[in-house]
């Protein structure tokens, strides 16, 4: 479900699924929690493969942000226009830092 790698001490997580929805949200949340428990506190979630997110998928991303807490950050990139509309509609675009590319996210988080 997740491709992960580390760059500049930042964990980059890229779901390799097209739908982050109710059928996979619990599994995604658990996998993210496991990664965070292992000490990863700066995470880029690259959603470029994901074409559809529902409220369960969105909730699992929010849960991951809360699990990291205030001592780290979970930022997003690779969000398509459709999913971006959902972030704006739910006002979650005010919660997450959203970058247009993974490179931009790495560059800004590395400072």
């Amino acid at each position: 479900m997740l491709n992960v790698r580390i760059e500049n001490d930042i964990l980059i997580v890229q779901p390799n699924i097209e739908r982050l929805d109710a059928s996979v949200a619990v599994g995604f949340k658990e996998k993210m929690a496991d990664l965070i428990k292992r000490g990863h506190s700066m995470i880029i979630l690259n959603l470029s493969v994901v074409e559809f997110i529902d409220s369960s998928g969105l909730g699992s991303i929010v849960s991951s942000l809360k699990t990291i807490g205030r001592n780290g950050d979970l930022v997003l990139c690779g969000i398509n226009r459709n999913i971006m509309s959902m972030f704006k509609l739910t006002r979650m675009d005010r919660v997450f830092r959203i970058f247009s590319s993974e490179g931009e996210a790495i560059s800004l988080l590395s400072k």
Binding site: S23, D54, S55, S56, V62, R81, S85, L89, R91, V95
Partner: protein
Amino acid sequence: MHVKQIKMIIDSDFKNVPLISTVINRLCALTPFSGVKAFQIELCVIESIHNAIKHAYGNEPDHAVEVNFALHPNRLTFEICDTGKTIDSKYLPKKGVPSFEFDPDDLDNLPEGGMGLSIINEIMDQVVYTTADGINKLTLTKFFNANATKR
């Protein structure tokens, strides 16, 4: 007035839901809605089906979720029907009442769940929930003309 309709029935298993997604995508191609709007309509129907599976049927398989699509001259409607537990009306968001009124900086109180019905309410022009003869029906309406009467 000529109305085109299609009825779909799936088993209450999440793995079947993407099939409906595919159909809705194609059905929206028959309407003025495309791109982001078509995605948002698809999202509303999927949220409704997920609610039926999760809340009406308690995540149990082997129950029917029926989706009826109707293409009218000025709007499209979806009816999502189940024969499971009825939604308590207190959980149905009211049109015109703002949703998503959380503080984006209050990390501990960010919503993780319960957003589905609010998303539906924001996107669709009309959302009506009825129960009769053991059938729960959520009817979603989207007018082609954004200025059409909404309520």
